[in-house]
Structures are given as structure tokens and as C-alpha cells.
């Protein structure tokens, strides 16, 4: 284990009374990594983050930051900074006050405080705002101040709890990029909680998908998108979500009624997979349409139900037989509800899951 781990979590359990929120959770986060905790509401993301921050006490297990066991350490002694969904800025203090409050409390010398606040303000480009109060800031500016509050404290690990979910779409996109840029600049470890998969995909070095207090998959965005470990992850990632078709895997050929799909080019998890009931998953954006259908390995057609033109591309909601089927087409595509649309599928970009335990085959 040559590589330094920034945060290590060992066998973490956390109960709220009878409710087990985290269950034997293990997680290693690399130095300088941007890790996103992604999961649906209530899956325990915030709880985990609060445990790392020391704001919640685990029922069992240990937490290490930079190799130091901080399980019992105070939040302020852990070398972490946290940015909250509501930002939790101190409303009656100026931005400068917000930034320096923690430092003053730690009895850092005046000059040093000054220096650090200015540096943080410079990095975040909020120098002109230093004497305003949070009430007079826009959402994005507040968010920067909240980050600044962690920044001045020179922490090893940044923790973010859905810092963008209160903002409107446009601002969210801008701030996402800013965060990413900040990470490139600071090279700190960042742990970021969200339930927005676009954020997860764009920001993360690695994504941890959580469900029911456990981690379902911990991989790069690419891997998670292209090779989801199980049907839950596959369904969770991607918008509109993956199309699933139930069928049979026989001799590495997926069959469902008329649809026969030899899985050539598909990377099976094990070299030889036995025959069984299986589910195939096809991402809407991987469906082949238009002229390219001719050359597609597998062909089928769907009955169009709803068409959503989105400018840059068009979403088509239809049915393949009795199953709903979504696909994403070019923004210029002209499709009408009620139309029969020929499509093509490339098995090498599909995902195959066991029908019973739903793991990837």
C-alpha cells in the first residue's frame, strides 16, 4: 500500500435508534482525489459525510484522516472544511467576518488571518465582496464564501454536502465548472455529496454510489457509466435512464421474443457465463438511429409515444413491444408521436445483468 490515503473509513456503523443508517461501510479516498458520494435521497450520504466531519458519532468503526485515527477527534481538529447545502453562512457577519471567524477563534495572529483571508478571496475572486453581508450576495457568491471558509483554514479535506442543489440550473452549471477548476488548482482531497448525477459525472475522479447505507460501486465515472456493477447503479446513472429488457442468455446470446442479440464484443465479467435469465440494459444515447441503423449489429423498431426536442438533442419516449423504451437522438431529428422508428443496438455498449441478483454478467 504505497499510495497515501487521505481518508480511510473502516467498518463504519451508524444507527439512529433502531434505524441502521450506515452498515459496515469501508471507503478509502486517495490524496488529492475528488470523490463524489452519489445516491438517492435518504441513502445515508449526508450521514457519512457528517461522520467524516465528526459531526455525528459512529456507532462502531474507525475513521482515519491522513493516517491519523480521528474517530474521537473534534470536528475542528480533523483538518477538514465543510460546505453545506444552505451554506450556513453567519448572516450577521461580513464576508470577511465569516472567513476569519474560525481563525480568530483558533487564536491565529491578526496578520496571518489577514493574509489567509486575502489569499482565499483572491482564489475565489470575492475580494470586492469582503465587506458585504451574506444577505447581499447572490447564490453563487454565497457558495464561494462558504468554500472560502474552508479554504482559509488550510484543511486537508474538503467536504461538500449538496452545495449546488439550491441554485438554478444555469448557475449550477457555472459553479460546477468553477469547483472543478478550484480542485485542479488546489489539489486537495474533496468529498462531495450530491444526488444529481450530472454533477457526479462531471466532477468526480471517482464516484461512490450509495444505497441503503452501503456503497454499491466505487469507480471512475467512465466505468460507472459504461460498466455499472449492477442493475441499480445502471438504472441510477444516466438520464433518461437505461432501457431494460428481460430475456434469456443462452450461450452468450441474449434472446427476447423476436429480438436475438449475439453478445459479440461484450466484455463479460467472467470468461464463461452460464445460461440463465438475464436483463439487458441499453442506454438511450447508445441506441443507433437514422441512417446508421443499416449497419447496426442488431435491429429493431419502436413505436414513438412522446417526443421531447431539447435543442441540442431530442428525447424520444416510445415502446418496444410492451416495454417502454427511451432514446436520445440528434437535435435535428424530426420524429412524430405514433411513428414507427427503426433502431439499432450495439451489444458491445450494452450491459447485461443476472435477472435474480441483478449483478453484472
Amino acid at each position: 500500500m504505497a499510495e497515501q490515503h487521505s481518508v480511510e473509513i473502516r467498518h463504519l456503523d451508524l444507527d439512529f435508534g433502531a434505524v441502521k443508517v450506515l452498515q459496515d461501510l469501508n471507503l478509502d479516498i486517495h490524496e488529492g482525489e475528488f470523490l463524489v458520494l452519489l445516491g438517492s435521497s435518504g441513502c445515508g450520504k449526508s450521514t457519512l459525510l457528517n461522520c467524516i466531519a465528526g459531526l455525528l458519532e459512529p456507532t462502531d468503526g474507525q475513521i482515519f484522516i491522513k493516517g491519523r485515527n480521528v474517530t474521537w477527534a473534534e470536528p475542528s481538529d480533523r483538518g477538514i472544511g465543510m460546505v453545506f447545502q444552505s451554506y450556513a453562512l453567519y448572516p450577521q457577519m461580513t464576508v470577511r467576518g465569516n472567513l476569519s471567524f474560525g481563525l480568530k477563534n483558533a487564536k491565529v495572529p491578526k496578520a496571518e488571518i489577514e493574509k489567509r483571508v486575502n489569499r482565499a478571496a483572491e482564489i475565489l475572486q470575492i475580494q470586492p465582496l469582503l465587506d458585504r453581508k451574506p444577505g447581499a450576495l447572490s447564490g453563487g457568491q454565497r457558495q464561494r464564501v462558504a468554500i472560502g471558509r474552508a479554504l482559509v483554514r488550510d484543511v486537508d479535506v474538503f467536504l461538500f454536502d449538496e452545495p449546488l442543489s439550491n441554485l438554478d440550473a444555469k448557475l449550477r452549471a457555472d459553479l460546477r465548472v468553477e469547483l472543478k477548476r478550484l480542485h485542479q488548482q488546489l489539489e486537495n482531497t474533496m468529498i462531495y455529496v450530491t444526488h444529481d448525477q450530472v454533477e457526479a459525472m462531471t466532477l468526480a475522479d471517482r464516484i461512490a454510489i450509495m444505497k441503503g447505507g452501503q456503497i454499491m460501486q466505487l469507480s471512475t465515472p467512465d466505468e460507472i457509466y459504461n460498466r455499472p456493477r449492477n442493475k441499480y447503479v445502471a438504472d441510477f446513472i444516466g438520464s433518461p435512464s437505461m432501457n431494460f429488457l428481460d430475456g434469456h442468455l443462452e450461450n452468450h446470446v441474449f434472446k427476447r421474443g423476436d429480438l436475438v442479440m449475439p453478445m459479440t464484443g461484450y466484455e463479460f465479467a467472467a470468461p464463461k457465463v452460464a445460461d440463465r435469465k438475464a436483463t439487458i440494459g441499453i442506454r438511450p444515447e447508445h441506441v443507433i438511429t437514422g441512417e446508421l441503423v443499416q449497419g447496426a449489429p442488431v435491429k429493431s423498431e419502436i413505436l414513438v409515444d412522446v417526443v421531447e426536442p431539447m435543442g441540442s438533442d431530442t428525447l424520444v419516449w416510445g415502446n418496444m413491444g410492451d416495454r417502454p423504451f427511451r432514446l436520445r437522438m440528434d437535435g435535428n431529428a424530426r420524429v412524430k408521436p405514433g411513428e414507427r422508428l427503426p433502431i439499432g443496438i450495439d451489444p458491445s455498449r450494452a450491459s447485461l445483468f443476472d435477472a435474480s441478483d441483478e449483478t453484472r454478467l
Partner: protein, 320 residues
């Protein structure tokens, strides 16, 4: 064990030594029940509680003592010989003037005053608060401002003007307002109005406007929205209003004595008569028993509805 934390996670169940942990702190930080912070916290609370409970204790203890014992000992000593005589006397025997019926004479009067007063004052305040929050019109806030300033006027100052108003209005309408229960109920409603209206107004303001709009689109009118939408959601604030009014009206002496006749004096007038009638040495035990008896109704309501009270306050008072 190279890079993958994920392996840990997923395979944890199969790991034969899965509970192998590094030494060092683990799990929840051990807590001592008697930490310094806790001692200070609970210690202070207990001491402060004593301060709050002391008078109640004194009242109860004293009301159970005989007069000789009271004269001999201090107020805090527990009764050596418990007697309920003071309670009996306070309730049924204490004299004022020629009447020797104790508080019992005033109890039902108080109830008869209380119920219509509480109902009317809450009704008016509720409707006003509702109008002020959801059906504002030009100038409505001005009335409200005047009303709030009115909350600061000492009641005594308004005594004469109100007497005159009741007389004049009564004469105009051809009904007896002054000196009748109706008049008293009106007076209680008037003086309860500022605070209650404020509470209701703030509470209704905290109910989303969208709900109100939805009901209007659904064709509900002014009253329909109030009765079918707003009121069913208003339990906490109704409780607060009721508690405040019950306390205020039940404890009221001034209006009760000025605006009623001798045969309908409320209990507090009797209490005043018992407490302020001086026959030789003050009969403290009877006074205390009378005091406790008088306070019983509001106290009961407090003990029963404490939790709702905080909730209602949170909804009505805090959101300005």
C-alpha cells in the same frame, strides 16, 4: 491490498476477519454521564427549577397548615398536621360582606364569563388575523398598527372611555351593554385583540399563499377558505390563543368587577375579597388555598397543553 476501497465494501461480508481494526479509538466516543458540562447544565436547571417551584410549594404547604402552625413556623416548613380546612373554607365558607360562600360563588360566574369571552375574542382575532394576512386591502395595515400600539395602553386608562362607550352604544342599540355579561365579553374581546390578532396574523402568514390561491381557484370564498382550509390547519395557534385568553380572562379582576354586577362577580373578585379582607391576622392558609383554587383552571390547561403551546408559539410569534 492495492487501490480498491470498493473491494473492501463489496466483499466485506465474506472477509473472515472483517472486524479486524486498527487499534486506537473506535466507535462512539465514550461519554461520561457526569461530565462537567452535564453537571453544570442539569445543576443549573435544577436550581432554577427550585426558584420556579418554590412559590408553588409554599402555597401548597401553607394551604395545608393550621393558623397556629403558620404563626409558629416559617413558610417553607412542611405541615406537621395536614388540614384541608383552609381549602374547605376558601371554597365554601369564607365571608365577604354578608356572603359566606367562599369562592364557590364566583366559580360559575367565572366560567360563564370565560366561555363566551374566549370564544368571541378568538373568533374576532382569528378572522381579523386571517383578513390581515391573506386579504389585505389598502389601509388594513394601518388599523393593525393602531391596534398593536393599543396593546401598550394600560387597561386602567381605558376604564372610563370604555364605560362611556358601552353606555352610549348600549343606548343607541337599545340594549344593556354596560353591566351585562355581553358588555364584559365585548371588553375582554377588545383587550385580547391586539396580541391575538398579531398571533393569528403571523400564523396565517406562514401558511403558504399558494394554498390560499388554490382554494380561490377552486371557488372557495372568504369564509370557505377560512373554515375549510385555514382553520383545520390552525390547531397549534388556536391552542396558544386559548391558553392566553383563558389565563388572561380567568385572572382578570378589574374588568370583572367594573363591568358586572354583584351577582355575577367572577371568582377573582371573591379571591380579592378573601385575600384583602382582613380579619385579625391574615388567614394565610385560606388565602393560599383560595389562590390555588383560583389558579387551578389555567394551571390545568397549561399542564395539559404545554407541548402544543411551544409549537403554536413557534408558528405564531417567532415569524414576525
Amino acid at each position: 491490498m492495492s487501490d480498491i476501497g470498493m473491494l473492501n465494501t463489496v466483499k466485506a461480508a465474506e472477509d473472515p476477519v472483517r472486524r479486524r481494526l486498527d487499534s486506537g479509538p473506535r466507535g462512539a466516543r465514550p461519554k461520561r454521564a457526569l461530565s462537567r458540562g452535564n453537571i453544570i447544565l442539569y445543576g443549573t436547571l435544577l436550581v432554577v427549577s427550585l426558584y420556579y417551584l418554590l412559590p408553588l410549594y409554599v402555597m401548597i404547604v401553607t394551604s395545608l397548615k393550621g393558623m397556629p402552625e403558620i404563626r409558629a413556623g416559617n413558610v417553607f416548613a412542611p405541615p406537621m398536621e395536614i388540614t384541608f380546612q383552609p381549602w374547605v373554607k376558601a371554597w365554601a365558607e369564607a365571608c365577604t360582606g354578608v356572603n359566606c360562600e367562599g369562592l364557590s360563588r364566583g366559580f360559575w360566574n367565572s366560567v360563564r364569563i370565560l366561555i363566551p369571552s374566549v370564544i368571541l375574542s378568538i373568533t374576532i382575532a382569528c378572522i381579523s388575523g386571517y383578513t390581515l394576512s391573506k386579504w389585505k386591502f389598502k389601509g388594513s395595515d394601518l388599523f393593525f398598527t393602531i391596534l398593536i400600539v393599543g396593546a401598550f395602553i394600560p387597561y386602567q386608562v381605558m376604564l372610563y372611555p370604555i364605560v362611556i362607550m358601552l353606555r352610549e352604544v348600549g343606548n343607541t342599540l337599545g340594549v344593556q351593554l354596560f353591566g351585562s355579561l355581553t358588555g364584559l365579553v365585548l371588553v375582554h374581546s377588545v383587550f385580547g385583540m391586539p396580541i391575538l390578532t398579531l398571533l393569528f396574523r403571523n400564523y396565517f402568514a406562514s401558511i403558504p399563499d399558494e394554498l390560499f390561491k388554490a382554494a380561490r381557484v377552486d371557488g372557495a370564498g372568504f369564509w370557505g377558505i377560512l373554515f375549510r382550509i385555514m382553520l383545520p390547519m390552525s390547531l397549534p395557534i388556536l391552542v396558544v390563543a386559548m391558553i392566553l385568553q383563558v389565563t388572561g380572562i380567568w385572572n382578570d379582576f378589574l374588568f370583572g368587577v367594573v363591568y358586572t354586577r354583584a351577582d355575577s362577580y367572577p371568582m377573582t373578585v371573591q379571591l380579592n375579597n378573601i385575600v384583602n379582607s382582613v380579619q385579625g391576622i391574615k388567614e394565610y392558609n385560606v388565602n393560599m388555598a383560595a389562590t390555588l383554587l383560583t389558579g387551578l383552571v389555567p394551571l390545568f390547561i397549561y399542564f395539559v397543553s404545554g407541548k402544543l403551546f411551544v409549537r403554536g408559539i413557534a408558528a405564531g410569534a417567532v415569524k414576525g
